[in-house]
Symmetry: C2
Subunit: 410 residues, 2 copies
């Protein structure tokens, strides 16, 4: 497995583009993106679990039901959520307009939106710009870049990755872009992830690989616990690599699934680090829990605690808050068996042993916690010797988080 350039255009047969169509006020910002494959793709997607779902989510669920798809059209600047029946019609129309442009089935594209909730989508602007959008498609990195820019909102950096793997001697490529600050900002920073691959793979196995990858990555990111109305992860496989078809959990599948997992973890960490106002990436690992699920709940309780997050911002080795957050996670464990360590590139330090204080150098702890990537490690050393282990990612809670979210719409 090696990293390559090109993003979603790295795999054979995909083109992408992005333009400004007038949804965002500033002409200097792109707001309409398209990723397209002439050859129909095998498609798999995962959507937000929020009860409040944007129109784009509902339409994509219908259009992808067949598991076949040519691509995805996405806009930023407007979430088309809480917009009622008109919103649904707009989302359907948006996918249709792209389909007409390429003379393919009207329901053969997915649609995604991100932006402010409760404002009607200016579908006329999208319709007027469709020709320009189609003409802007390119099969190189520039096309990928343009599309990525067009789905970004409060993101402070571009988050993408592309890989090449070999399946039975045949090179296969995966490319991806993600936008969003870890569900931190439902009114604007929905998480959208578009993944392309030229692998030949059955829908069942694509589904399986995607679920595994997402559960081990995006679903282990916690920023402020809020989940968006528009979240969507989409993978499109157009089969252009010509590898021997992946139709069972064989070596080929393992290689593909591993690459997809690596790709999603990399993007998930980038997303957590890009949380609004965040200055630090937190990786919180719990081990010795009864099982992996229990470890995940405990780790998320720590990484999600506002007190832990603010302490990390202040580089304050406040280990009591870590233990406390584990305590209210709802998971059963014996506090007297817990060790807590803080780690970073500056070193590692034990601050709590068997649930009680141990002497440690505040200066050293401060130095360790002042790095941009911090690890919080809680080991449950119960006599039963459970093996449940999980790492989740989050970020610190800062003044800027309050600033950005305090009066966001103005």
């Amino acid at each position: 497995m090696k990293e390559i350039s090109g993003g979603v255009c790295a795999p054979k047969g995909f083109r992408a583009g992005g333009i400004w169509c007038g949804i965002k006020a500033s002409q200097s910002k792109r707001d309409l993106a398209l990723i397209y494959s002439e050859k129909p793709c095998t498609a798999s997607a995962m959507y937000t679990r929020n009860r409040v779902k944007a129109a784009s989510i509902l339409v994509s669920q219908i259009n992808l039901a067949s598991g076949r798809c040519h691509g995805v059209i996405a806009n930023s600047g407007n979430a088309n959520a809480c917009t009622g029946a008109a919103g649904l019609a707009h989302a359907r129309r948006m996918a249709q307009l792209a389909a007409e442009e390429f003379m393919v089935e009207p329901n053969s594209l997915a649609v995604a939106s991100t932006g402010v909730i409760g404002v009607p989508l200016p579908i006329d602007k999208i319709e007027a710009a469709m020709g320009t959008l189609a003409d802007s498609l390119r099969s190189d990195a520039a096309g990928h870049e343009a599309a990525l820019e067009a789905i970004m909102t409060t993101d402070t950096r571009k988050k993408d990755v592309s890989l090449e793997i070999e399946i039975a001697g045949v090179p296969v490529r995966l490319g991806a872009m993600v936008k969003g600050s870890g569900m931190i900002h439902p009114n604007m920073a929905t998480m959208l992830c578009f993944i392309t691959t030229d692998a030949v793979i059955s829908r069942d196995l694509l589904d399986r690989a995607l679920r595994k990858a997402v559960n081990g990555s995006f679903n282990r990111v916690t920023v402020d616990g809020d989940t968006s109305t528009n979240d969507m992860v989409l993978v499109l496989a157009n089969g252009q690599a010509g590898n021997s078809p992946i139709e069972s959990e064989d070596t080929g599948y393992e290689i593909f699934a591993e690459a997809l997992g690596f790709l999603c973890v990399k993007l998930a960490k980038a997303m957590a680090r890009d949380g609004e106002g965040a200055t630090k990436l937190l990786a919180c690992t719990v081990s010795g829990a009864e099982n992996e699920t229990a470890a995940e709940v405990l780790a998320k309780s720590i990484a999600g605690s506002s007190l832990v997050k603010t302490a990390c911002f202040g580089a304050d080795a406040n280990w009591g808050r870590v233990l406390c957050a584990m305590g209210y996670s709802g998971i059963e464990f014996d506090p007297d068996t817990v060790d807590v360590r803080f780690a970073s590139s500056a070193g590692e330090i034990l601050v709590c042993r068997n649930g009680a204080s141990v002497p440690f150098s505040e200066e050293e702890a401060k130095r360790i916690l002042s790095e941009e990537e911090i690890e919080i490690i809680a080991d449950i050393r119960a006599p039963e010797g459970h093996k449940g282990r999980c790492t989740v990612w989050g970020c610190d809670l800062t003044y800027d988080y309050v600033k950005i979210n305090g009066d966001y719409r103005s």
Copy 2:
């Protein structure tokens, strides 16, 4: 029911006091409190549900098992939590020292602590000061004030209340003090609530009344979701009012339970308003849910959302975040039946009807949300016409929250 003065000393036969014994650095701050009744009391208590429990909690659970108790000794400046076996011995000794002072059973007092986690309790200082503490007890408001000051930590204001009711023509008094900022600060601002009453009431009914009151008040406060290792609500009834004993759910019980509920709600709201860095009290009401529990979960999801809290700080009528928080609460409901309103002493404004935007004046909304007490009202108007309704209390999320918690221990 009328409010009276005197706090925990308002009921007959209770004395209270508070001194500085040296746990806190500054001599100007009291750190050791005692509330005592010569006549043994019927006692009922509720404790933190955090898996990590302070030594004081474990010892109080044992000492109150009998349901009889003379009072409570409490310290601030040290939580005596995550302190192992030594911590347990210290907590037991602390209760014992007070008991010896009054020559009562060694296990006939409750004990409470609040302060930094993981630091050994300086029991010698408490022992040395015990005589002074006992001598400081007074049966008037001054005694109450001194005790209240001695349990305060990051609290910015005193939170107390005392009431007089009549049971079959006999005046009965209740008094209470609370410290804490709504579980906002587990390393320091544990929630402690001490309630005294001279009512004659059986333990069963005192338990029942306390559970009902706490579930409808303190358990409906959410500040940042963190719950402390030391939380405790204690009620002591010494029977000095001489009312006809409350031994069944008769009118007398109803009157007493109503007063206890009123008292707890008043203190719960004061606590939410006193959340660290908070500038506003949020009252979030959800109606039309399937039942009261569902309404409570929905309301807590809204009041607990960092995005809703920051929007309130910024007086930003960001109703999408309210709907979104309901959406990820885990409760089933149809978003298309939800109306959202914001209200305060400056007026009321509808911002969302049937889950979708309605035109409203941003200026008016801003004026309403700029008040110190804000109401967020979400009505689910489902055809089934469910009646589940609940109000929870919280506060806004501000720069000062980050500041206070970012480098707390320094």
